[in-house]
C-alpha cells in the first residue's frame, strides 16, 4: 500500500543521517518507538519525539535498552509498526529481546548507529564493529536481515525498506548505520507519499477457532493476529508448536529453528541487495559497506586511473550475505579487498565464501576514523600484483 501522507515530509531537505532515518521510519508507518539516549543515535529519537504527537504515534523513553527492546516487541503485537534506536552499548543490552523478537517472529526495526567498541569505546566516533553482533548477537541459531546505508538519503530510503522487510519476513531487521553517516548532513529528497510503497501488517483472515499463531499453511511465514482482536492466542520465547504452546523436545526445536533460519536463507535471493561496478574486466574486487564503501570508491577510481582492473561491490543488505555473487566472482577474480572499520568481520565472510578460490585482503582499523583512501589504494595495488 501507499504511505500515510501524515508521516511523509515530502520535499528536499538538508538532514543528517540520524534525522533522515527518523523520517524514514515515520514515512514507513512506524507509530511506536521506545528508546534510551545514546550517542551517536539520539537524534533519531529526538526527531521522532518531536513529530510523533502530531502523527498518532507514541514515543517513550524507557529506563534502559533492555526495556526499550521489550516494549518494542510488546507494541508490535498490537499491529503497530515499531522501532528502537541505539548504539553499541545499548545494542548489547537489546540482544536478549532481539532473540525474543526472532523467536516470537515479531516484525520490528532495530537501528544501531555504530560507534567504536568494545564497551563504552569511542562514543562520538565512527565504527563498524557490530556487523557480526548484528547477526549473531543473541544466543542460539536465527537469521536476521541487516541493511547498511552510506548516506543520509539512504538512511531515509533504506529505513523504509527495513520496515517492509520486517513485515514480509516477520523478524527484527537490523539497521546498521554508523556515526559518520548518522552525523553527516546532506541533501535528502523525500518523495510524495503515494510514491512510497509500504508493507502493511497483514492480519489473518481465519476465525479464532481455526487460527494458530505459528501455523504455516504451506509457506514459511505464519499469519498474524494482533492482541485485542478476540483470537486469544498465546506466544512464548520458549520453543513452541503452531499453537504457540511450549514443546520441550529436540524434534520440535529443530523444526522451529530450521524454519526461523530457512525463511531468510531460502529467500536470500530476493533479500540480498548490492551494487557493483567495473566487474567486466575486474581482477580485483573491493567489497565494502556503509561509509567505508564511499571512501573506498575513491580508492577504486584512483587504482583504475593507474590501470588496475578493479571492480567494486557495495553491500546494501549486509545480512543475508550475497554468497552466490561472491562465490561466482571468486571463480573469476584473483583477489578481494575488504576495507571495513573493524578488525576483519566481513573480510572473514568473504574469505569463507571465496573458499580459497581468490585471496582476501582485509584493510582495517578498529574505529575512530574513516579510512584514508590511499591506504585502500595501496592494498588494491598489492592485491593486483
Amino acid at each position: 500500500m501507499k504511505a500515510d501522507p501524515a508521516g511523509v515530509l515530502t520535499g528536499s531537505h538538508y538532514l543528517d543521517g540520524d534525522v533522515a532515518c527518523g523520517e524514514g521510519a515515520m514515512a514507513a508507518g512506524c507509530r511506536f518507538v521506545a528508546g534510551y539516549p545514546i550517542t551517536p543515535s539520539t537524534e533519531v529519537v529526538e526527531r521522532i519525539a518531536r513529530r510523533f504527537p502530531t502523527l498518532g504515534g507514541t514515543f517513550i523513553q524507557m529506563e534502559d535498552e533492555l526495556a526499550s527492546m521489550a516494549a518494542v516487541v510488546g507494541a508490535a503485537w498490537t499491529g503497530t509498526k515499531t522501532m528502537t534506536v541505539t548504539s553499541g552499548p545499548g545494542f548489547s543490552l537489546m540482544m536478549e529481546n532481539i532473540g525474543l523478537a526472532a523467536m516470537m517472529e515479531t516484525p520490528c526495526v532495530v537501528v544501531n548507529v555504530q560507534r567504536g567498541g568494545p564497551s563504552t569505546g569511542l562514543p562520538t566516533m565512527v565504527g563498524q564493529g557490530d556487523v557480526m553482533q548484528a547477526r549473531w548477537g543473541s544466543h542460539g541459531d536465527y537469521e536476521v536481515i541487516a541493511l547498511c546505508p552510506q548516506s543520509p538519503q539512504e538512511a531515509f530510503d533504506l529505513t523504509i525498506d527495513a520496515f517492509n522487510l520486517a513485515e514480509i519476513y516477520r523478524l527484527p531487521v537490523m539497521f546498521l548505520m554508523d556515526e559518520c553517516v548518522g552525523h553527516m548532513t546532506e541533501k535528502v529528497v523525500i518523495p510524495e507519499a503515494d510514491a512510497i510503497e509500504v508493507e502493511p501488517r497483514r492480519l489473518t483472515d481465519k476465525s479464532p477457532e481455526e487460527f494458530g499463531p505459528y501455523q504455516i499453511n504451506g509457506g514459511q511465514i505464519p499469519e498474524f493476529a494482533r492482541a485485542g482482536d478476540g483470537y486469544r492466542f498465546h506466544t512464548t520465547g520458549l520453543t513452541h508448536d503452531e499453537r504457540g504452546y511450549p514443546v520441550m523436545n529436540a524434534e520440535c526445536h529443530d523444526a522451529s529453528v530450521r524454519r526461523l533460519v530457512g525463511k531468510i536463507r531460502d529467500n536470500a535471493d530476493s533479500i540480498v541487495r548490492f551494487e557493483e561496478e567495473g566487474m567486466d574486466d575486474a581482477e580485483v574486487v573491493v567489497v565494502s559497506f556503509g561509509i567505508t564503501a564511499r571512501v573506498a570508491r575513491l580508492a577504486v577510481e584512483e587504482a583504475r586511473s593507474r590501470g588496475i582492473r578493479v571492480g567494486f561491490l557495495r553491500l546494501v543488505v549486509i545480512w543475508p550475505f550475497p554468497e552466490k555473487r561472491i562465490r561466482e566472482l571468486a571463480g573469476s577474480v584473483a583477489a578481494f579487498v575488504v576495507p571495513e572499520i573493524n578488525l576483519g568481520q566481513i573480510a572473514l565472510e568473504v574469505e569463507r565464501v571465496a573458499a580459497g578460490q581468490a585471496v582476501t585482503w582485509p584493510v582495517n582499523h578498529a574505529g575512530g576514523a574513516v579510512h584514508d583512501p590511499d591506504a585502500i589504494t595501496e592494498i588494491i595495488v598489492k592485491a593486483a600484483s
Binding site: G56, L66, A70, G79, A227, G237, Y245
Partner: protein, 300 residues
C-alpha cells in the same frame, strides 16, 4: 454466583469452574502439587469473569519462572516473555493499543530481582497495568536460589547457611515508587484476593497486588516448613489484615507475622492521562493521539 453453580452441576466429568478461561488442553500444568501459583490463577480468572470486562481485550504478560508460566494457561491473549521484562513488554502493548486491559502476572525474582528497575519505573510512570506478583520468597524454577524477597535467616540453595541480605518489602517499594493501588494477600485469602483483583481491574494506573504463595518443593523443603497445607495453617495463624497500614511497617521476617490488606488506593493521573493532557495543552489541535484500537497501518 455463576461460577459456584457451574462447579456443582457435576456430569460424569467435572468441569473446572474456570474452564472457559483456561487452556484446558494444556492441563496438566507444570506446577507442583500444592504450589500456590494455581490459586492465583483461579482467583484472577474468577475476578475477570465477575468484572464483566470484554475478555477479548485482556492481555496477560508473564516473565520467566514457575510464576511466569501463568500467561500460558489462561485463554486470553498471552505473552510469555523474557526473564524480568514482562513490565516493559506490557508497557509496549498498552501504549500500542490503549484500550487493552493489560495484566502482568509473574514471580518475585522476575519482577523485582532481574526486573527491579522496570518495576520502579513502571510504578513511577503510573502506567495502566495490573500487576500480580507471586511471592514465594525464592527462585522456584531454577531450584531454590536466593531472591530479593527471601527473608533473613531463611535458607535458599545459594544461601545454604541462611540468608543474611535484607529483603525488599514489596508494598513499600511499589507505594514509594508511585503505584496507585497496593495490596498484599496470601494464598489463603482467596475471597479477599479475588475481590481485590476485581477491584483493581476497574481501577486505572499502576495497580500492584502481592500474593504470598507457598513453594512446598523448594522454599518449604529447604526451610523444613512442611507441606502446602502447613503453609495454609501458617498463613491462618500469622497473617493479620490491616488495611491502610503504613507501608513502612510491612517487612516480612522469617516465619513471623505477615501483614495483609489494601494499603494504597489513590486515583492519580496515569502515564496516558499525563501524556494526553500535556500534548493537548502544548500542541492543541495539532495533537493526534494514538487511537484506542492502536496505531496500526490499515489497508485503505
Amino acid at each position: 454466583m455463576t461460577v459456584a453453580t457451574k462447579s456443582t452441576t457435576a456430569s460424569q466429568e467435572l468441569e473446572h469452574p474456570s474452564a472457559p478461561l483456561l487452556r484446558m488442553e494444556r492441563i496438566p500444568h507444570v506446577w507442583c502439587p500444592s504450589c500456590g501459583i494455581g490459586t492465583v490463577v483461579k482467583c484472577y480468572a474468577t475476578a475477570l469473569e465477575r468484572s464483566g470486562v470484554d475478555l477479548d481485550k485482556v492481555s496477560v504478560v508473564s516473565g520467566i519462572g514457575c510464576s511466569g508460566r501463568v500467561a500460558g494457561y489462561l485463554k486470553l491473549d498471552g505473552f510469555h516473555t523474557t526473564h524480568g521484562r514482562a513490565l516493559p513488554f506490557a508497557t509496549g502493548l498498552k501504549l500500542g493499543r490503549p484500550e487493552l486491559l493489560v495484566t502482568v502476572i509473574s514471580g518475585d525474582g522476575d519482577l523485582v530481582g532481574i526486573g527491579g528497575n522496570h518495576f520502579i519505573h513502571a510504578a513511577r510512570r503510573n502506567i495502566d497495568l495490573l500487576v500480580i506478583l507471586i511471592n514465594n520468597f525464592i527462585y522456584g524454577m531454577t531450584g531454590g536460589q536466593n531472591a530479593p524477597t527471601t527473608p533473613q535467616q531463611a535458607r535458599s540453595s545459594t544461601m545454604p547457611y541462611g540468608n543474611f541480605e535484607t529483603p525488599f518489602s514489596l508494598p513499600h517499594l511499589a507505594a514509594s515508587s508511585g503505584a496507585s493501588y497496593v495490596a498484599r494477600w496470601t494464598c489463603l485469602h482467596i475471597r479477599r484476593l479475588t475481590w481485590s483483583i476485581e477491584e483493581a481491574i476497574h481501577k486505572r494506573g499502576f495497580r500492584f497486588i502481592e500474593v504470598i504463595a507457598p513453594c512446598p518443593t523448594l522454599y518449604a523443603r529447604l526451610n523444613k516448613l512442611g507441606t502446602g497445607l502447613d503453609a495454609m495453617r501458617f498463613y491462618h495463624d500469622t497473617a493479620v489484615i490491616r488495611n491502610d497500614a503504613d507501608t513502612r511497617e510491612l517487612d516480612i521476617s522469617f516465619q513471623s507475622e505477615i501483614t495483609c490488606g489494601k494499603f494504597v488506593d489513590e486515583e492519580r493521573p496515569t502515564f496516558l492521562d499525563l501524556m494526553h493532557n500535556h500534548y493537548s495543552d502544548q500542541l492543541g489541535d495539532r495533537y493526534v493521539p494514538t487511537p484506542p484500537e492502536g496505531g496500526m497501518l490499515h489497508e485503505q
